[in-house]
Symmetry: C2
Amino acid sequence: MSQRIKLEDVAKLAGVSRATVSRVINRRGYLSQRTILKVEQAMERLDYHPNVIARQMHSQRTNLIGIIVPTVGNPFFGELTAAMEHELFKKGYKVLVGDALNDPEKEQRYLRQLLGHQVDGLIIATHNANIPEYQNTNLPIVAIDRFLRSDIPVVYSDNYGGAKQACEALIQRGAKYIIHTDDLSPLNDQDTARRRAYEAVMKAHDRPAITYPSLPDPKQNREALQKIFIEHPEVDAIFTSNDLDAATLLDLAVENGYVVPDQLQIIGYDGTQTTQRLLPRLATVVQPIPAMAKKAIELLEAKLNQQAVPEEVVLSVNLKLGSTVKNYKINGEY
Amino acid sequence: MSQRIKLEDVAKLAGVSRATVSRVINRRGYLSQRTILKVEQAMERLDYHPNVIARQMHSQRTNLIGIIVPTVGNPFFGELTAAMEHELFKKGYKVLVGDALNDPEKEQRYLRQLLGHQVDGLIIATHNANIPEYQNTNLPIVAIDRFLRSDIPVVYSDNYGGAKQACEALIQRGAKYIIHTDDLSPLNDQDTARRRAYEAVMKAHDRPAITYPSLPDPKQNREALQKIFIEHPEVDAIFTSNDLDAATLLDLAVENGYVVPDQLQIIGYDGTQTTQRLLPRLATVVQPIPAMAKKAIELLEAKLNQQAVPEEVVLSVNLKLGSTVKNYKINGEY
């Protein structure tokens, strides 16, 4: 074709407006998968290559990054959000925060608004399943601890390795009857990694693997965890998927007359600064929150600059011992 | 004057651009106090009254609200931010979050950027002193627990009343030697309310009032609080200004051989959901975080709609007893 193809030719062939073509090119705005396909097919058929300079000029960066978490009121996501905000601020970005809670509808409405026009990129650390908006956008996205789409990179911490270390530490300290608590709504393979590691260690040592549900509502969760002591009075160790469960179980242990750690050892998971200050003696698997934040921002920046990024990055965790397990004595008993 | 005065007449007389006059009228953007004064004086001298409709048309609402807190990584500010975000989302706003930390320079840079163009209003819950930007803006602002300027409304919880209740509860339970921990950098009268209440109760009961500093760094804070047991071994109760101190002191009590609550009673302050889950047995003064969030958003909306607002609103708090004080037994000992 000798004549220079223009944006409006693509729009005409795709049967959409010029603005829509521009949005597809500039990877901005909420677009249905169908629209993206139509425009991209039209561009291909016409051999249309948008000018890179023009594209950058049109891209209208807002220097806003959206972060969607279950809630910043949870210490893990609060500290993660704080760490990401610090990194982003240093790089000249400001942060829009949305709490999706356990409400897929809120996450969806939030996303539609953000994809619409306001942010340069997104970091997603939510746990709601089946949000179609993630499939239909070209906006740069990085996920934390959650698989969304094959071309959206994920930052994990080593859930399997951390859980394995914790369970083996309990076995080494003489635990015979180890129970696990875990969220019952896994979205993907990594979501079940802590449980799978627990089950593998139990199997390797010929012990039964028993997992109790961890519920989002504190009162319901306490009632659910109380059942451990009724249904399995022989329990002598518990490995929990989060520190909130560990705290509740520490309290329930007292109520049920178990001495920690002599009769019941407990290891939690997450190890936030808040937990370490409020429960300094709790043994727990410490997730590398600052490193996870830094890596997520690094990947997002690479995506913003159209550089290649790995599909996933796994960061190592650290088992912090404490006086909720045996053979740990620094200053007195728990 | 018979001839209709125009925006450019005001600009000419004030010696500024039309855009600056528009920004003063529309209460948008960062403006020095001097510029605001010059423009307002010029408007007065010319008897210029901007058309309200035109003003609204020019106001270009972004539906973004900025929230600046010390850090969302702290459970109190994390839960407060989460509660405000929920309220704002219901009203169609999205939230820009900035962590000022204890860094006045970061707060200042953050503010300059936000005042520049991006938000419809601000909620400030930081603790840094002497940030001149707060004096020089017309942007609608609401403060939480902090006085900024006489026309910026403040949402407080009843710091004096909560502290008084806590100290009296300790006296009623036989405490003779009560020590207080508190932040040592008060910005205003309300910042010292908890300490003043402690001192008043001590005075009324003829007891000495001794306040130890609460430091932001966890390790330094622990070292500072350890001194209580060395310098005042006769201590039999501690009322702390925050739950993190209470948690550290619970741990130090064990290390120093004090049995809680028989030999040492402890009451904390804040009572976040996180604290209540991690330390369910801690007696603490519970701040009404959801009510504070709701009130702050209500005041901000009133300011956005140019309605009158009170200078301050004080919400009541609730002393939650627990097994860190005597005469509290529900299920076993702490």
